[in-house]
């Protein structure tokens, strides 16, 4: 949860980046893409442009333009066809042309995973601050699963820039068309583009974005770095429930409809011996089940961490025998509204279950380690 003590403004320095990247990975809930390349790009950007200012949404004037950015595409592609270093600048120029004024700040559309850490080089190359906020508070697999959509904002423009430098601007009539057209352009560009959508001003952003995400990710990374018992420290910071501590005994993955789907089974060790928890996965961890009973589900966050180091383990790197702890903790209240659940609740992913807040499944939180 974003904290009350989130500052108006602070600077991200090179030495903050490992903690920030680790925090983005925890908020990735198993998906969101690996943070490695984004981390290296962020280091280069800060070495080149200096420390990056991070500002709360309240510190901006009402009509300041905020550009939400996210990289869209296939991980296999982005690991091979690495992006160019001026794609954010090209998008910034196009936004200025469309809106009649320079963008005041960049915001990550998705704090979880690679889009969280990559917002550092995007903002740095544009020479603007990064907003201490994002559009998800976590990672989600589909572009319409953003808080701006939950808040009822219209998609005014979609601006795409590919690795070659082609810039495309769309003015779609509604959400489904924006998805269809953006996807077609993304494919034509080799399945990897940088995208701005829901371009908004600071007044519109208030209440429509997840505030404090950047400082939250930084706090997560730091608490894990410094702790004698990293998992306990993480649980404490997040207000998380420890769903199970054990080892992975089964992983099933298959690809369908452009997503990695599958399930992961963790068998309890120590105090959890005799228990078994299954995770349902679609890029991100969606639902945790025990004996057919739901322990936690989207839009609440479910992350698998290393039981020793509390390092987040992504869906792609889960392996048999790993000693892991599954944590779940509450999502931003916006996702718990009827519209929030309609867009990113269990039914939006095809599960016929009714969402119950993770903290209301009381017996889970009391299970000893």
């Amino acid at each position: 949860m974003p904290q009350a003590d989130t500052p108006e403004s602070f600077y991200l320095r090179e030495e903050d980046l490992p903690a920030f990247a680790a925090g983005c990975a925890v908020l990735g809930t198993g998906g969101g893409g690996a943070v490695d390349t984004g981390f290296l790009t962020a280091v280069k950007a800060i070495q080149q442009h200096g420390p990056l200012e991070v500002r709360s949404i309240n510190s901006f004037d009402d009509d300041d333009i905020i550009v939400p950015l996210s990289g869209v595409g296939a991980p296999t592609v982005s690991n091979e066809m690495v992006s160019s270093d001026d794609d954010a600048v090209l998008i910034g120029q196009e936004v200025e042309r469309l809106m009649g004024r320079k963008p005041a700040a960049v915001m990550s559309s998705e704090i979880g995973g690679s889009n969280g850490i990559s917002a550092v080089p995007w903002a740095a190359s544009l020479g603007v601050p990064l907003v201490d906020a994002d559009g998800m508070g976590r990672a989600f697999p589909e572009v319409q699963m953003v808080s701006m959509n939950v808040a009822g904002l219209e998609v005014n423009y979609i601006v795409l820039c590919d690795v070659v430098g082609n810039v495309s601007t769309l003015r779609p009539v509604d959400g489904p068309w924006s998805e269809r057209l953006a996807r077609a352009l993304c494919v034509a560009s080799g399945s990897g583009v940088l995208m701005a959508d829901y371009i908004l001003n600071a007044a519109q952003a208030r209440g429509a974005v997840i505030e404090g995400s950047v400082s939250h990710a930084l706090r997560i990374g730091r608490c894990v770095q410094d702790a004698a018992d990293p998992v306990a420290a993480l649980i404490d910071l997040l207000g998380a429930a420890r769903l199970i501590t054990g080892k992975i005994i089964d992983i099933e993955r298959h690809t369908g409809g452009g997503f990695v789907r599958g399930s992961v089974v963790v068998e309890g060790l120590g105090g959890d011996r005799g228990r078994m928890v299954r995770l349902e996965v679609q890029n991100e961890n969606l639902i945790a089940l025990e004996d057919g009973q739901v322990l936690a589900s989207v839009p609440d966050l479910i992350t698998v961490v290393d039981s020793q180091t509390a390092t987040a383990i992504s869906t792609e790197t889960l392996r048999y025998g790993q000693r892991v702890t599954i944590l779940s903790w509450p999502c931003h209240p916006l996702w718990r509204t009827p519209r929030g659940l309609e867009i990113a609740g269990p039914r939006a992913f095809g599960y016929d279950i009714t969402y119950v807040a993770t903290e209301e499944i009381a017996h889970v939180a009391s299970i000893p380690a």
């Binding site: 091979e80 690495v82 001026d86 690795v163 080799g190 298959h254 452009g258």
Partner: protein, 528 residues
């Protein structure tokens, strides 16, 4: 006159494995029987140990040495050169892909000392392809030419890496041709599509390391040639590579980076051969640590995680090794209730410091002797104090438990395979291990790695991305054909090459369902 005694019938082969501590050599005949073997200390220059080991086995086979037709070498020359930043060449790095990939320059995450030695200059030029083969930009040959012309005298080799070159290698070849016309024919050029798989930075890193190793490679091949000439052996030489297969000497000279990781691969293959099983867990127990690997259909299981070499991330396929800090020399301390077991080890000093050798340091070897698992040394455990015996037995129980957990981790829950125990400390392992059908302890287990080199097959790989629909079958056939051709190029008998591995990985987030196809073909060496 029997065929075997005909002097021109060269049916023997020598396997040599240069390890961190020992250099082992074996001589095998065509029935794969071990005629001679030795274990010599590895020398700092590596070549000295090689010479001593070869000399020893040649002496053992005496006049039969002229029946030797082949020598297979597994060596740590390349690994050591990278770890010690020694004898590495200066490399000019060309990346084809601008304006894509400019977010990060080449070698960005390299350790600064290694980068200082290896990186002479770098450039990102226009070119490269999208995933579907559409060009990102035309190849900017003018920029490549200007860059190459600026290099004369400053570099020892060129490394070239293009976006999606594993699927579309033509631009890398064009750059290589230009390099030989400008820098001279035979000037060494590493092309990434011949070295690694998808994943630009990892493949580029491996390609640069390969280019930096040309000098080391010619040093080793030269030394081997010299050692063989000194012994008047007219044989063909092969190098072991990271997947447990062989490449011809000329091939090793071009792809030296592929020799990295051959040690564990040879050990696993050798253990399997000596025990006669094709699917097993292999435990190589040394003085300080135990390496566990998995043998699947005769080859080591490979790691799916990125492999770091000297601090550089690559996407090599290496044997998936789980190392446990338990070996014959592991020191036992504390009390049975508060036990300390490793990672400290007396190592090679076991023969003077261990209790059974009259020394004063309790070790796992002493515990195993006390429990009746082996007979080494001369001191009698019955004479030890009761408390010491209790401590040693508790340590052995703890060691057994760690082995069970490690076996569980590497076996992925499959409990239907045997475990092959090799290495000098193999007797420390119990005869029954949970999750294992039986523990096999083959003869000559101490030189399993040299045996692994001697029996290795020759392989070739190919990789492609194909649509999941109708084109898939055709793409798989084409990939198998390419892998087979590569195996034959590397020295395999054309009529005996088989596809030993075919992996299809579905790709996520792509518009059309697509699969990544990885094929490995392997076969025995063809006769000359």
């Amino acid at each position: 006159m029997s065929q075997a005694s005909r002097p021109d019938h060269r049916d023997l082969r020598v396997g040599i494995d240069v390890g961190g501590t020992n250099t082992d050599a074996v001589v095998l005949n065509s029935a794969n029987e071990i005629l001679a073997w030795t274990k010599q200390p590895t020398t700092p220059d590596v070549t000295g140990g090689m010479r001593a080991a070869l000399g020893e086995v040649l002496q053992q086979v005496g006049s039969e040495q002229f029946r030797i037709g082949r020598v297979m070498l597994g060596t740590t020359h390349a690994t050591n050169a990278i770890l010690e930043r020694r004898a590495l060449g200066r490399v000019a790095v060309i990346r084809i892909g601008a304006p894509a990939t400019t977010a990060l320059p080449p070698l960005v995450a390299w350790p600064s000392d290694l980068k200082a030695v290896v990186a002479a200059d770098s450039i990102i030029v226009g070119g490269g392809h999208l995933v579907d083969g559409y060009p990102i930009a035309p190849l900017d040959l003018d920029a490549v030419r200007r860059f190459l012309e600026s290099l004369a005298g400053r570099v020892d080799a060129v490394a070239v890496t293009g976006v999606f070159s594993p699927a579309f290698p033509d631009q890398e070849r064009a750059v290589a041709e230009l390099a030989s016309s400008i820098l001279g024919p035979g000037f060494p050029v590493s092309m990434s599509h011949e070295i690694g798989s998808l994943g630009l930075f990892e493949r580029e890193n491996a390609t640069v390391l390969n280019a930096a190793l040309y000098g080391v490679a010619s040093e080793v091949t030269g030394a081997l040639d010299q050692v063989l000439a000194d012994r008047q052996l007219d044989v063909s030489a092969f190098f072991a590579q990271n997947d447990g297969t062989l490449m011809a000497l000329e091939y090793a000279a071009r792809y030296p980076v592929l020799t990295i990781g051959s040690g564990p691969a040879n050990s696993i293959r050798g253990a399997a051969f000596l025990s006669g099983v094709e699917d097993a867990i292999v435990a190589d127990v040394g003085g300080t640590s135990t390496d566990l690997g998995v043998l699947i259909k005769g080859f080591p299981r490979e790691s799916s995680a990125a492999v770091e070499i000297g601090g550089v991330r690559t996407n090599f396929r290496m044997p998936d090794i789980f190392s446990l800090a338990i070996g014959g020399g592991t020191v036992v301390g504390g009390t049975p209730a508060q036990l300390s077991l490793g990672p400290h080890s007396v190592g090679y000093r076991i023969s003077t410091e261990g209790l059974v050798f009259g020394g004063r340091t309790p070790t796992l070897t002493d515990a195993a002797v006390l429990a009746g698992r082996g007979k080494v040394g001369s001191a009698r455990p019955a004479s030890w104090a009761e408390a010491k015996r209790a401590l040693l037995l508790a340590a052995l129980a703890e060691s057994d438990q760690r082995v069970v957990e490690a076996v569980d981790q590497v076996s992925l829950g499959k409990a239907d395979r045997p475990l092959v125990a090799v290495g000098g400390g193999a007797f420390v392992l119990p005869d029954e291990i949970e999750g294992i059908t039986e523990v096999l302890r083959p003869a000559h287990g101490g030189v399993a790695n040299a045996v692994g080199a001697a029996i290795a097959l020759v392989s070739g790989r190919w990789e492609a991305i194909a649509p999941a629909g109708e084109g898939r079958r055709k793409a798989i056939d084409a990939a198998c054909e390419m892998a087979t051709r590569r195996a034959v190029q590397a020295g395999a008998a054309p009529d005996q090459v088989e596809i030993v591995e075919l992996a299809e990985v579905p790709l996520s987030y792509l518009p059309e369902p697509a699969v990544r196809i990885q094929v490995k073909a392997a076969g025995p060496l063809g006769w000359l």
